[in-house]
Symmetry: C2
């Protein structure tokens, strides 16, 4: 029932770094991206092409892409908010495999975030997706506040699915569902993805959870149980628009990988190398990061005996 | 399949406070215990009767019990390590409903913790359980390192069940399984409790998880899915022998309650009052506590609409 292997997209260099108040040197970004690209991760969101006055931290996105030495097997993605962002990304087309576009499922959050109605966002993104697809780029559409909105509360599943279908028919081959402020719970997640798999046919469905209320890995488990096999996370537990300030945002990649491996699920990731990257980020940022596995270390069983091998699930 | 209601034992005043390096004033302990006792919690571990030179923080256990005004519906438990501890507890018999005895499933951990072999511990505790039962006290036997040992690694399920059965036949009507250093994962937990329910008949089985690697609530979910309906947790995420220092220990009661309520599972607890108690503990201890829900606040849905009501699980 639970997938034997999952795909993970590391979003730290974009979603994590953009939330850092102090400018990170381009060479540090390049080094961290290169470390991540050598962990066995197959999907890596490297930067965004957002206006430099809006997200100054990622103003060097193009330079990071040009300088970072990333192995062929890693699918490099960048976030583009609109056609202008896409055109900027296309100037380094050969460095990019995928683009992500985004909007929120709730009107109020979308208005706060990009100053547009959901319909206006969708109309704009349909053009972006068409153009990116023409250029041979793989497209992901990310829907924020898919599991609840801090302004509006409940967001109907049907509304989220409707947006997902619009993105899908416009060219998004993958839809990411973001729990932007950590409102999802496991019962909801199970029911959401069970229906989503029925309703949204032909697109890969990806779960992006936040650990705001400590439930990220419980939500991962609930998603796995209904067949979700694609996740997004951020090394070092970086980023993810912590609301309120100080709260936890994105689930840490190393906590996700640690749990999946303990459960006998393959990720392709070398956890030790991922922890090295998180430790390096900690040094660059000059503060302790919140990931559990970074603090506690991974679980180490001795003598090749562990509960999974000794007691395989029936 | 998932239980509609669960029982929670709050262990913070014992398991949490005992790990605090600075002495907490008796009056503060009394006040926090009284706050917890008015949250709707029905089980509260108030203190221990361990030698004062071993756990000086809880040397005032008897006084806390005598002074705290605890409603009748709250079942008060204390930890007793041995017959001497039980005899001390019996001096305030009328203040106590339950006693907890404990040992580790792994030899090395038990040796480190109480300087005895598992067999020596069991023999001693059998007498304690018999005497406590004679006195009309309800008895819980807690088995540490049930899901793995930091020294020995894998602990065979059969070994844990064997110890549980010994405790059960000696008078423990409840067996608590402790994930002492957070080594459990959801696949293991599901398989463990599925078998435990078959093997250990006639005792209530309680799960006690730590969030060392961020998996506590995922493990709670896995346990719920195989019918576990009794949990232990600590308000403010206090205590739980963090290994290594700085790591997370016990899962926070407010994070547990928050997830359960969001999932539509009854606990009887008023989450707002529980958060008040955790905030009060934060003030007493003079440092920010790690519970997610304390930082982020509970999820608040508006207008009586929430995902659980709108999309009841099929």
């Amino acid at each position: 029932m639970i997938p034997k292997a999952v795909r993970i997209r590391e979003v730290g260099p974009r979603d994590g770094f953009q939330n850092e108040p102090e400018t990170i040197a381009t060479e540090d970004k390049v080094r961290l991206v290169e470390m991540l690209a050598r962990t066995g991760l197959r999907r890596l969101e490297v930067t965004s092409f957002v206006r430099a006055d809006v997200v100054p931290q990622l103003a060097d996105g193009r330079e990071v892409l040009e300088r970072a030495d990333i192995p062929e097997h890693v699918s490099v993605s960048v976030l583009v908010p609109n056609m202008r962002g896409l055109e900027a990304a296309l100037e380094v087309r050969e460095k990019i495999d995928e683009v992500n576009v985004f909007l929120s499922a709730s009107e109020t959050h979308n208005r706060h975030n990009v100053n547009r109605s959901v319909e206006e966002s969708l109309t704009g993104l349909e053009h972006v997706l068409a153009r990116a697809t023409e250029e041979g780029l793989r497209c992901e559409g990310v829907i924020s506040t898919s599991f609840g909105c801090p302004y509006e509360g409940y967001v109907p599943f049907e509304r989220v699915f409707e947006i997902a279908k619009r993105l899908s028919v416009s060219g998004a081959v993958e839809i990411g569902f973001g729990d932007t402020t950590g409102m999802a719970n496991p019962v909801q997640v199970g029911e959401f993805f069970r229906r989503a798999h029925e309703e949204i046919v032909g697109a890969e469905l990806t779960a992006h959870f936040h650990d705001t209320r400590g439930q990220a890995l419980a939500n991962v488990l609930a998603a796995l149980e209904v067949g979700v096999d694609s996740f997004e996370s951020s090394f070092g537990e970086l980023g993810g628009c912590p609301v309120p300030p100080g709260a936890t945002g994105n689930v840490a990649s190393e906590d996700l990988v640690s749990m999946l491996h303990e459960m006998g699920i393959e990720t392709g990731v070398d956890l030790a190398k991922l922890l090295d990257a998180a430790r390096a980020a900690q040094e660059v940022l000059g503060r302790p990061l919140g990931s559990h596995t970074l603090v506690a270390g991974p679980v180490e069983w001795h003598a090749e005996r562990d509960p999974f091998k000794e007691n395989p699930p029936r």
